[in-house]
Amino acid sequence: MNETRTDSLVSIRGLTKRYGKITALDNVNLELPPGRIIGLLGPNGSGKTTLIKLMNGLLVPGRGTILIDGNIPGIATKSCVSYLPERFYASDSMRVEDLFSYFEDFYADFDKSKALGLLEKLQISLKSPLKSLSKGTREKAALVLVMSRRAKLYILDEPIAGVDPAARDVILRTIIQEYDESSTILLSTHLISDIETILDDVIFIRDGKTLLSSSVEDIRSAQGRSVDAYFREVFAC
């Protein structure tokens, strides 16, 4: 993941974002290649979500550029990025089928039968009001829809935070099983030990700066310990 790559799926240069006097992202440079599962790791408030929101066009950047598949965030990138936000985004009255029909209507890369199969497998009824589901089930329902798109980039913001271990297993399994091999997954979390076995690469982020961007195997062999242990040392927590 060095800067001279030209086959990057995502290319971020000099990205800076401030909220008033607080600097949420400070001159971030990143290149994400295609076909990788990448962990975006950092403590709460480190800038993970800000970076992800910028990539999805939910914030306007202060300085710097983001290119996803050659485009700045906009209609073109939204068509090829499948995003699972940290917040749950459906309105109170929505049922699973309502959210489903949004995906069906707006994303050309949405695989309807795949999504239906997965929902059935996970025993989530289309008729359930989303409000009535447990957090884990809601997360699973949204993940099924997100992973049923044949996207170039999947951005999953804290997909396993606050769900029980059984739901977490299902979520990780669904991610591994369903993503398109030529696409990249960017997965943010502060719970590294739970997901480090599924990662190819990691990006450490703290105080809006990227500290490290490396392959997981490199860290394990260079440090002789888990990424989680290394992370704890780097962030001293």
Binding site: I37, I176, Q177, G224, S226, V227
Partner: protein, 123 residues
Amino acid sequence: MAWTLDSDRPIYAQIVERLKLQIVSGNYPPGARLPSVRELAAQASVNPNTMQKAFTELERTGLIVTLRTSGRIVTQDGERIAVARRELAQEQVRLFWEQMTQLGYDREQILSLLLETGGNTHE
């Protein structure tokens, strides 16, 4: 359930060990079809690239064979499986020996203890 893996050691080596054990113990009998990389990766909750690497290693040692049409199967070469079994057994013995030595037993003591307890458990 996700496989219990120790994240301090290379993941792929642990997967190789685990698959070897399953083949030797007959969990995947000779000639049996193995699940796809993706399926097994999902089952184990590991990166598909890592699982692929483990498969490549097992193929290199001849324990599994890739067929042109129908995916991967366990080798039908009984000899090869026997060799793998022996390798695993030797590794267990080596570890056992190492730990017993650490406990302060010498060769004679270990052997006699082994005969004693081994005899008992067989009863």
